[in-house]
C-alpha cells in the first residue's frame, strides 16, 4: 500500500513502538524519574502523571519465548501475559519502580499473584475494577483511586494534589484530542496514513512522557496536512478487538488491499474517543470517565448495546466496507462479543471476519489467505 507520507515524528513513534524500553523511557530513568508499569486502559494513567511518574503500558514487544513463565501459566492461558511475565522473569522490566495490575481479565490478573511471588519490584498493587456502569460502581472506582493515591504518596513520598490531577487530566485530554484529529484524516476517501502507521502512533503514546508525545503528535498532524492520500486499496476496514500492539499485524491486512481506517481496540479509539471531564472533583471525574463515559470492552457487563452502536457509528463515519474481529486465543470475553458482533453486523449488512491470533505474530500466511478471501467475498 503506497503512502507518500514523510514524517520524522512518525518514524520516532514507530521506533518507540518497535522497542520495549525505548530511548524516552531510558532518558526518563537516567534523569532520576520513576516509571510505573500498568496493564489495561481502565487503569487511570493520569494519576501517575500527576505523581510526576512516567506511566508505562505493559507490552511484550520483542518477546521470543515463554520458557520461564510456562512454569506459572499453562497452555490454556493467553499468550500476552505469558510473554509479559516471561520478560519480567528475564529481568527486562527491572527498570520499573512499580506495577499496577487490574482485574481486567482472568489471565492478566494472575500476573499480580505470580509477580508478587517471584519478583522484587517494590510497589506492586492490584486495582479492583468494577464490571458494571452504575453509580455505585463510580463510587467504588473513586474509592479505589483514593486508596491508590494514598499508597503512591506513602511509598514514593510524593504529594498528588487535586491541582496536579487537574493538570494531568488536561494534558491527557490534549493527547486524546490530538489523536482524534489524527483519526479525522482517516475519514477521507484517500487517507494520508495507513492503519499500521496509526497503530504505531497510538502505542507509542503509552510509553513516552505525555508532553513529549503531544509535541510529536502535533508535528505529525502538520506533516499530514496536504500529504498525498492512499488510493490503491480494495476496501476500507475496521478492526475490532482487544490488545493489539503490533503494527505488522495491520500491515498484513493492508498488504492484501484492506486499508484499516478505524478501530475499536485497546490501543485505539477506546483509549481516547472521550475526554475526562475537566470540571469538578478530579478523582470523581476520572472515576466517572472510566466507569461510565469512555467506550468499554466486553469485560464490562451491560454495555454491549453501547459498544455495537459505537462500532456502527464508526462504520458510518469512516465509510467502512468490512469489519475484522481479532481476538487473542483463549480470550473468553472477545469470543462471545464477536459472536454477538457477527449477528449484529450480519443484520446490518456489514461483512464481518473473525480472526484468532497469538500475541506474537505467527501464521502470517493464514492471515493473508483469510483476509484475501474476505475481501473477495466482499466483491473487492
Amino acid at each position: 500500500m503506497e503512502t507518500g507520507l514523510k514524517s520524522k515524528a512518525l518514524e520516532q513513534f514507530q521506533e518507540v513502538t518497535a522497542t520495549l524500553i525505548n530511548p524516552s523511557v531510558r532518558q526518563w530513568k537516567d534523569q532520576g524519574g520513576k516509571v510505573i508499569g500498568y496493564f489495561c486502559t481502565h487503569v487511570p494513567d493520569e494519576i501517575f502523571t500527576a505523581a510526576g511518574m512516567l506511566p508505562f503500558r505493559m507490552r511484550a514487544t520483542g518477546s521470543d519465548g515463554t520458557e520461564l513463565s510456562d512454569a506459572f501459566y499453562s497452555s490454556i492461558n493467553c499468550s500476552f501475559p505469558r510473554h509479559c511475565f516471561n520478560m519480567a522473569l528475564r529481568g527486562e522490566f527491572d527498570l520499573l519502580d512499580g506495577l499496577i495490575v487490574p482485574n481486567s481479565c482472568d489471565h492478566i490478573r494472575r500476573i499480580y499473584d505470580n509477580w508478587k511471588s517471584q519478583l522484587q519490584t517494590g510497589f506492586v498493587e492490584v486495582f479492583s475494577l468494577p464490571k458494571k456502569t452504575g453509580e455505585p460502581q463510580v463510587g467504588w472506582y473513586r474509592d479505589e483511586l483514593l486508596l491508590l493515591r494514598g499508597k503512591l504518596e506513602k511509598h514514593f513520598g510524593v504529594k498528588i494534589t487535586d491541582e496536579k490531577l487537574r493538570s494531568a487530566i488536561k494534558l491527557h485530554n490534549e493527547n486524546r484530542r490530538l489523536l482524534r484529529r489524527l483519526y479525522e484524516f482517516r475519514k477521507a476517501d484517500h487517507p494520508p496514513i495507513t492503519g499500521a502507521q496509526v497503530l504505531a502512533v497510538v502505542v507509542a503514546g503509552t510509553a513516552m512522557p505525555r508532553d513529549q508525545y503531544n509535541a510529536l503528535l502535533k508535528e505529525l498532524l502538520k506533516d499530514l496536512e496536504g500529504a498525498e492520500g492512499i488510493k490503491d486499496y480494495r476496501a476500507r476496514i475496521m478492526v475490532v478487538g482487544g490488545i493489539l500492539d503490533d503494527p505488522e499485524y495491520i500491515e498484513i491486512i493492508e498488504g492484501q488491499g484492506g486499508l484499516v481506517v478505524t478501530d475499536f481496540l485497546c490501543f485505539g479509539t477506546r483509549l481516547f474517543w472521550v475526554d475526562v471531564p475537566e470540571k469538578g472533583d478530579p478523582i470523581e471525574a476520572i472515576a466517572r470517565y472510566q466507569v461510565q463515559l469512555r467506550p468499554t470492552c466486553p469485560r464490562t457487563y451491560g454495555d454491549q448495546p453501547r459498544r455495537i452502536k459505537f462500532i456502527k457509528d464508526m462504520i458510518r463515519d469512516f465509510k467502512v466496507d468490512g469489519v475484522i474481529g481479532e481476538r487473542l486465543l483463549f480470550c473468553d470475553p472477545w469470543v462471545v462479543e464477536h459472536y454477538m458482533n457477527d449477528l449484529d453486523l450480519k443484520e446490518a449488512g456489514v461483512p464481518f471476519l473473525k480472526l484468532d491470533r497469538e500475541y506474537i505474530l505467527s501464521g502470517k500466511g493464514q492471515i493473508r489467505t483469510r483476509v484475501q478471501a474476505f475481501l473477495e467475498m466482499m466483491g473487492r
Binding site: 494472575r110 464490571k131 469485560r299 457487563y301 473468553d332 462471545v336 454477538m340 484468532d356
Partner: protein, 442 residues
C-alpha cells in the same frame, strides 16, 4: 433453532424439554430406590437428595407452565434470599452439571461450536449460551446473573440480554469487588440489597426480614452439620469417597434448598451415614484406601462415571476432599439486617467454592491447599485444570510451589469437565497412573 415461527406454547414446551428430561431421570432413580425392600442409611440419603432435586424441578416447571414468577440464578447469588422470598429458581448452569454423562451432552457441545462459540470458551459457559440461543432454557420471570469468578460468566448474561426471546427478561448482576476486606463486604452487601429491590420489583414477591432470619438460622444449622461431617471425613479410612459428600452437600445447601429444614435433615442423614462407617472403620464399599487425594476443583461431570470409580477400584485412591466439599461457610449473625446482609455477602463473595478461590487474588488457592492437606492427611493434590478455569491454570505455578513446600505431590492434568473428547478418560487415567507410579503412591 429459529423460534420465530413457533407458537407461544411450542416455545414454552421446547424451553422445558431438557428440564423435563432431567426431572424424569431423577424420578426414575427415585422410583428405583423406593423399590429396595430394606434400604440402607445411604439409600435413604440418596432418596432424600433425589426428592429435593425432583421437587425443585417440579416447582420450576409448574411456575413456567402456569405463569407464576420464578427466577434463574446461581448458588453464589445468596439463595437464602430466594428461599425467604419463596421464589422457585433454577441454576443457569444446571444442565451441564446435572446431566452427568447424559446422552445429549456431546451433541450439545458440538452444537456450541457450530453456532460460532469456538472451542476454547469454557464449556460450562458455552452450553448455557447454546441452550439460550436455541430456545432450550426455561425463560424465567427475572434473572440474577453472575459477573464472577471468571471472564465467561458475564458474557453468558450479555448474550442473554442480546437474545430476542429473552429481551423482556430483566437481569440483575451483583458487581463483585476484587478485594476481600470489609469495604468489599459492605459494597457487596449493598449490591445484594439492590438485588432484593430488583426481585421485589419484577416478581411481586417481597422479602420478609423475619422469614430471612429463620432461613439464615436454618442455614447455620445446616453448615454446622456440614462442619461435623467434614470432621468425620478426616478419619482413616475416609468414610466416603467421591460418590457421597461434598458435591451433593454443595448442591443441596446452595443450589436447591438453602436454609430449608429439608436441607438440614439431609445433612443429619449424611452425618449419620459417615458416623456408621467411621465406627466400623469402613470406607467406600469395596475400596481399600491406599491413596488419599485432594481433587481441587469440580468433578468431571460430563464423564464422571468413567474416572472417579476407576480411581477407587484401580488404585485405592479415595477423594477425601474436593473444592466443593470444603467447609468455609460463615455462620450468619442474625441480630440485625446489617449483620445478615454482611454475612450473606461474605458467604457468597468469599466462602462459596470456586468463587472463593477464583474471584480474587490467588491467596486462597494456596491457603486452602495448605489447610486441607494438613487437616485431611492428603497424599497428593490433583488440579484437574478444566479448560475453562483459566485463572486457576494461571495460578498452577503457585499451587505447585505450595505443594512443594508441603512435600505433597501435585498433578496438573488439563481436561474438560464436560467434553470427554478434549482429554479422553483413557488419557487422563494414563496421566494419573504415571503420576501415582512416579510418586510411589498406591
Amino acid at each position: 433453532m429459529d423460534t420465530k415461527e413457533m407458537t407461544k406454547e411450542e416455545v414454552l414446551e421446547r424451553s422445558l424439554a431438557r428440564y423435563k428430561k432431567e426431572r424424569d431421570w431423577f424420578k426414575f432413580l427415585l422410583d428405583t430406590l423406593h423399590m429396595i425392600p430394606e434400604p440402607t442409611e445411604e439409600d435413604k440419603l440418596q432418596m432424600k437428595l433425589l426428592d429435593i432435586l425432583l421437587n425443585s424441578k417440579e416447582l420450576v416447571i409448574d411456575a413456567a407452565v402456569n405463569g407464576k414468577p420464578f427466577i434463574a440464578g446461581y448458588f453464589c447469588n445468596a439463595p437464602e434470599i430466594f428461599n425467604a422470598m419463596k421464589l422457585p429458581w433454577y441454576m443457569l448452569m444446571e444442565t451441564p452439571f446435572l446431566a452427568a454423562s447424559a446422552p445429549y451432552l456431546a451433541e450439545d457441545i458440538k452444537g456450541t461450536e457450530e453456532i460460532g462459540l469456538g472451542s476454547d470458551l469454557c464449556t460450562a459457559i458455552r452450553l448455557p449460551i447454546y441452550y439460550i440461543e436455541t430456545g432450550q432454557m426455561p425463560i424465567p420471570t427475572a434473572v440474577l446473573g453472575l459477573l464472577y469468578p471468571c471472564d465467561g460468566a458475564p458474557m453468558l448474561h450479555q448474550v442473554m440480554t442480546h437474545n430476542k426471546a429473552w429481551l423482556d427478561v430483566p437481569v440483575y448482576c451483583a458487581d463483585p469487588p476484587y478485594t476481600s476486606d470489609q469495604r468489599a463486604i459492605n459494597y457487596f452487601a449493598d449490591e445484594l440489597r439492590r438485588m432484593v429491590e430488583f426481585l421485589e420489583k419484577h416478581t411481586g414477591h417481597t422479602l420478609d426480614m423475619k422469614r430471612l432470619v429463620e432461613v439464615c438460622e436454618e442455614s447455620n444449622r445446616t453448615y454446622a452439620l456440614w462442619q461435623e461431617y467434614n470432621e468425620l471425613r478426616r478419619a482413616v479410612p475416609c468414610p466416603h469417597g467421591w460418590g457421597i459428600g461434598g458435591a451433593q452437600a454443595f448442591a443441596v445447601s446452595q443450589c436447591f434448598v438453602a436454609g430449608d429444614p429439608r436441607c438440614t435433615d439431609w445433612f443429619r442423614q449424611l452425618v449419620k451415614c459417615a458416623e456408621i462407617n467411621v465406627a466400623a472403620k469402613k470406607g467406600p464399599p469395596g475400596v481399600k484406601e491406599r491413596i488419599r487425594y485432594l481433587w481441587f476443583d469440580i468433578m468431571p461431570y460430563g464423564w464422571v462415571f468413567e474416572l472417579m470409580p476407576w480411581l477407587e477400584t484401580e488404585w485405592g485412591a479415595v477423594l477425601v476432599m474436593d473444592m466443593f466439599g470444603n467447609f468455609p461457610y460463615t455462620l450468619i449473625d442474625t441480630s440485625s439486617e446489617k449483620t445478615i446482609f454482611e454475612g450473606l455477602a461474605k458467604r457468597n463473595l468469599i466462602d462459596a467454592p470456586m468463587i472463593r478461590q477464583a474471584r480474587g487474588t490467588a491467596e486462597n488457592f494456596s491457603a486452602d491447599i495448605r489447610r486441607m492437606v494438613k487437616d485431611y492427611k492428603i497424599d497428593c493434590v490433583i488440579w484437574p485444570g478444566h479448560m475453562g478455569h483459566k485463572d486457576g491454570s494461571a495460578a498452577a505455578g503457585i499451587m505447585r510451589e505450595t505443594c512443594r513446600e508441603l512435600g505433597v505431590p501435585f498433578l496438573h492434568i488439563g481436561l474438560d469437565l464436560f467434553d470427554r473428547s478434549y482429554t479422553t478418560p483413557d488419557e487422563v487415567k494414563d496421566r494419573i497412573s504415571k503420576f501415582f507410579t512416579a510418586m510411589g503412591l498406591g
